[in-house]
């Protein structure tokens, strides 16, 4: 397929399949299988809503389908992240005045308690959309400072300083919530 940048995480067998693929729709399907779930996690950190996350992923993959033959393999991850983030930021602008709040998870993972998830969700809701975007890109997607700067159209220094502030705010609010419930 030759599309996904996270090829470091990709098993060699999949790479062979990608090279053997001739139809771009097959490439697209493989990319979907590889990246739909991570992109939904990115979207969830951004918006705190699983349904909205899925909508954002759907919009992203529809746009990817539309432009797939013209997207270069080395830029497809950046392109998909950009589409998803732009869709999210656009939605938050439309919903200006409404607060996007974290949703209580349907069920808890074994290692994460419901309380911890709710706390983090509440703390994330305090951040601005751009701060959430920075944290999601840097800590969920492991995107480099340079690429984050390119994606958001800001300088690398701004990425570092704003990420630092967002993390500090998050910890502070997480501490407040944790403290208040103790």
């Amino acid at each position: 397929m030759g599309r996904a940048n996270p090829s470091d995480r990709e098993p060699p067998a999949r790479r062979r399949v990608r090279r053997a693929t001739t139809s771009w729709e097959a490439e697209y399907s493989e990319y979907f299988a590889l990246r739909a779930v991570p992109l939904r996690r990115l979207a969830y950190v951004l918006c705190g809503d699983w349904h909205l996350s899925e909508d954002l992923v759907q919009v992203t993959f529809l746009k990817l389908y539309q432009h797939w033959p013209r997207i270069r393999a080395e830029t497809v991850d950046a392109y998909s992240r950009r589409v998803l983030i732009n869709s999210y930021l656009s939605k938050t602008r439309r919903l200006r005045g409404e607060q996007i709040v974290a949703e209580v998870p349907d069920r808890a993972a074994a290692e994460v308690s419901v309380t911890e998830a709710v706390d983090l969700g509440r703390a994330m809701a305090v951040l601005t959309p751009k701060q959430r975007t920075l944290l999601a890109l840097r800590f969920i997607e492991d995107v480099s400072v340079a690429e984050t700067a390119g994606l958001l159209g800001i300088s690398e220094g701004t990425v570092k300083s704003q990420t630092f502030r967002a993390a500090r705010t998050l910890r502070a609010h997480l501490g407040v919530y944790t403290h208040s419930e103790e």
Partner: protein, 268 residues
């Protein structure tokens, strides 16, 4: 650079937050392919509709710009020729001209033929009614008008294209014993050639000799039982004998094709 020793912990917390209550993905690759194809079809449909709408608007605008509002009122005025029979005032379909046809019907038949066939031989040319040839005011190019000094019709056009300006004119009149076809005694001048039409009718090709700097032209005349049809093309305008283009706009063979067409033999 701002670094924090707790970044690792924050990373883990965020990752747990994003995966902790994660429901099953409701999207499938097959569903996305279907949705993508549907969106693509919809987009192409809208694009096609948009293009069609633009073309329709452009065509309507072009038609409004190119359709003359009214024929010229002066005999000296020139009018763009219509490009097909639809331009004639009466429809040309199902047209038959019998022995009892009126003069108007015969003229209409000539107009239908000329406006249908001649423009196809002159792609890209502009056809206008030449001035000073006896056409009534308002006559369109290649539209038949009664011959000014006897029975019969003329249909003329001034042809303008990249090569210059030239003439085409058609004359159709009843066969006149006083106007015999060329024979061995009369077709002796240089440029005269006797031929026989597709139905054995006598015909002649007259080539006007070309002197240096002056115009030239060809005439093909066909003498059927009831009609004399002559079609001429010259590399000049009615106003000058000097060449206004290198060669006449129609070739001898095109003139032959026109003159031998039975649709011009409106007198039988």
């Amino acid at each position: 650079m701002h670094t924090d020793p707790d970044d690792g912990a924050l990373r883990t917390a965020l990752h747990d937050y994003a995966t902790g209550g994660e429901p099953a993905l409701g999207l499938t690759s097959a569903g996305m392919l279907t949705a993508g194809r549907r969106a693509g079809r919809r987009r192409r449909t809208f694009q096609a509709l948009g293009v069609a709408a633009v073309l329709t608007v452009a065509a309507v605008a072009a038609a409004q710009l190119t359709t003359p509002d009214a024929p010229p009122t002066s005999i000296l005025a020139a009018t763009a020729a219509p490009s097909g029979p639809a331009a004639a005032a009466r429809p040309c379909t199902g047209l038959t001209v019998g022995p009892d046809a009126s003069g108007e019907d015969r003229g209409h038949a000539i107009t239908c033929f000329a406006t249908t066939v001649v423009p196809g031989m002159l792609p890209g040319a502009t056809l206008t009614q030449p001035t000073g040839q006896g056409a009534p005011p308002g006559t369109l190019a290649l539209h038949a008008y009664p011959h000014s000094w006897g029975r019969g019709f003329n249909a003329d056009a001034l042809v303008t294209d990249a090569a210059g300006v030239g003439l085409v004119f058609i004359v159709v009149r009843p066969r006149d014993p006083a106007d015999p076809p060329p024979d061995k005694d009369t077709c002796v001048a240089p440029g005269c050639e006797r031929r026989t039409g597709p139905h054995g009718e006598p015909a002649g090709v007259y080539h006007k000799p070309e002197a240096e700097g002056t115009s030239t032209g060809w005439t093909v005349a066909v003498y059927s039982a009831g009609s004399t049809v002559s079609v001429t093309s010259g590399n000049h305008t009615p106003d000058t004998l000097m060449a206004t283009r290198p060669a006449p706009p129609l070739t001898v063979e095109q003139l032959w094709q026109l003159a031998t067409d039975p649709r011009l033999q409106v007198y039988g």
